[in-house]
């Protein structure tokens, strides 16, 4: 590590002002400055302004009026907000939990030594992620239509058809399926890279000690994969809380807009408060609440996952 040379006044007078060290520091700060400048303007300032704005009544046209906590009262006493909140949580659970389990399964299968065509499978599983969410949603809205393929399959299995585009659960299942379709392969590939970073001699040693496949999974694979699981779960949670495009497009088809109760999410609620109704103050309060919820869930996530591995943990990522 290059410790800065503490320059005494003596040394100072002999050297030019721009020493090599100063010059390289200035260069480094210049190189990183675009991010900090842009983030200050379009990231940091808006965040603080949102918090400030959440205490004002404002329609983006007339002067702002201080109202204290009233926006928060308005939002939290609006039943639609709570519907959007519970919808977000339900769809978050439906979309994330099976997705992560499935991704783990796929990653373990792809990582097992006997899988041929590993590269092809990786590409195929990743393909959903490159499509735009709008495209995904449009495709799935045909598959989930009343006379669509999924209902045809259900009736083929002797089950009742489901109103995926209007039923309380139907809408949630349809939207969660879109999320899962898009992200399972992506997460599987991240898990796969985690699995490949586990040294093979660990497995050999375990095998010599007579550990079977399941013991290897629970005592080597899962604990060493923990950092990756934490990472994926965290990102999926954050993503799930910000769900917007799928419900917006999926429920927007009738032209009545996206605030239908079966699928309204917190971000949809925020969007419609601000850009449909022009209530910037309550929208800002919603954004702050969304942020608080995100933090709570991220912390919960960390707590749960830090207990998960127990003392066998200690991943190396």
């Amino acid at each position: 590590m290059a410790q800065p040379v503490i320059s005494s006044p003596h040394a100072e007078s002999k050297r030019p002002f721009l020493t090599e060290q100063r010059r390289s520091r200035i260069t480094a700060y210049t190189f990183i400055s675009p991010f900090f400048i842009l983030f200050s303007i379009f990231g940091l300032y808006p965040i603080f302004f949102t918090i400030y704005l959440s205490f004002f009544k404002w329609d983006a046209l007339n002067p702002m009026k201080f109202v204290g906590m009233k926006n928060y009262d308005l939002v939290t006493s609006d039943p639609t907000f709570w519907i959007s909140f519970s919808n977000t949580l339900i769809m978050g659970l439906l979309g994330t939990v099976p997705q992560i389990l499935l991704a783990l399964l796929i990653a373990v299968l792809l990582n097992s030594g006997m899988t041929r065509f590993k590269k092809t499978f990786r590409v195929l599983f990743f393909m959903p992620n490159i499509t735009s969410i709008v495209a995904v949603t449009l495709v799935f809205s045909t598959l989930f239509g009343n006379n669509g393929m999924i209902n045809w399959l259900l009736s083929g299995l002797g089950l009742d058809s489901v109103a995926f585009n209007s039923g309380w659960w139907g809408v949630k299942i349809a939207i969660s399926t879109m999320v899962m379709w898009r992200w399972t392969g992506y997460n599987a590939i991240i898990f796969l890279s985690g699995l490949q970073s586990i040294p093979t001699d660990l497995y050999e040693a375990a095998r010599i000690d007579g550990a079977n496949r399941r013991q290897q999974l629970t005592f080597i694979t899962l604990p060493l994969l923990k950092p990756f699981i934490v990472f994926v779960t965290l990102l999926s949670t954050i993503g799930a809380l910000q769900l917007f495009t799928e419900p917006y497009v999926f429920l927007g088809q009738s032209g009545t807009g996206s605030t239908r109760q079966e699928g309204i999410t917190m971000v949809t609620y925020l969007y419609s408060e601000a850009f449909r109704n022009g209530f910037f103050g309550t929208a800002a309060a919603t954004a702050v609440l969304l942020f608080v919820v995100t933090i709570i869930f991220s912390v919960l996530n960390m707590l749960v996952s830090s207990r998960m591995g127990g003392d066998t943990g200690g991943g190396k990522a």
Binding site: M1, E20, S24, R25, T27, A28, F31, I32, P34, F35, L38, F42, G43, Y45, P46, I47, F49, T50, L102, I106, L109, K119, F121, V123, L124, F125, F126, M127, P128, I130, T131, S132, I133, V134, A135, V136, L138, V139, T142, G145, N147, G148, W152, T184, I189, S193, S197, R207, F244, Q253, S254, V267, L270, Y271, A274, F275, A283, A287, L290, F291
Partner: protein, 287 residues
Amino acid sequence: MSTVRLLKKDPDDLGIFGKVGFYLILILGALVSIFPFYWMFVVGTNDRGAVFHVPPLLTVGNQFFDNFQRVLDKTDFFQALGNSLFVSSMVTISVVFFCTLAGYAFAKYEFPFKNILFYFVIATLFVPQQLGVLPTYVIMAKLHWIDSFKALIVPAMVNAFGIFWMRQYISTAVHTELIEAGRIDGGGHFRIFWNIAIPVITPAMATLGILNFMTVWNDFFWPLVVLKNQEHFTIQIALQQLFSNRDGLDYGMIMSATFTATLPLLIVFLLFSRWVIAGLTSGAIKS
């Protein structure tokens, strides 16, 4: 086929049934992953009623150009495609350049507060975009950037993920001795970056470029907020407009548009998939 495995006599060998099960799950998963792409094409090439044909229609038809003609009647499809191409390219060029610069500085320079600043960069990844969306909109309005591409391009010109991912790559791929040698020979800092570092890290830059291009191309929320006039719509907004059409949903038309809009990205991805996937996984490690 499995002679190698037989020689090894793996005690954990699952046997033929296990193997069949393995491949069944993988193949089923792969089919589910690609079926919607095929379905998009099937619907896009058949007539209006094809979506809800019972039993489902699974064969490609010949109505593609008729369907696509209706897309062209309804929207400026190619204009929207061009807009997306322009916005995504500008953002990508800028992101690759600035993130590489910043990643290089974080990887190869010593300066006060380096670690704190780097952790700050990482922390910004976890802030939801929606938290700042209203004031950003207000800023855009003040700058008169609403309904202009500047609103899409400028805020996205550099991002935390890119800095993180370039730093990871540069710290192992670019040797500090080379940089020092360049300094002793009297090269300027930017010159060394350009002539010594850049050639070594082009694969990483390409990966970041492709990943970023896909993200910007697929973005929906922010363009929806700031774009107002049809002539400025990006392709995602244009697609959504086709769908929110009130006079009956013409799925043949919608899917021919969706498929055409997805195709360029699909081709780029299949050409560079190895890079994309490698890039993604190395970005995820060490979180």
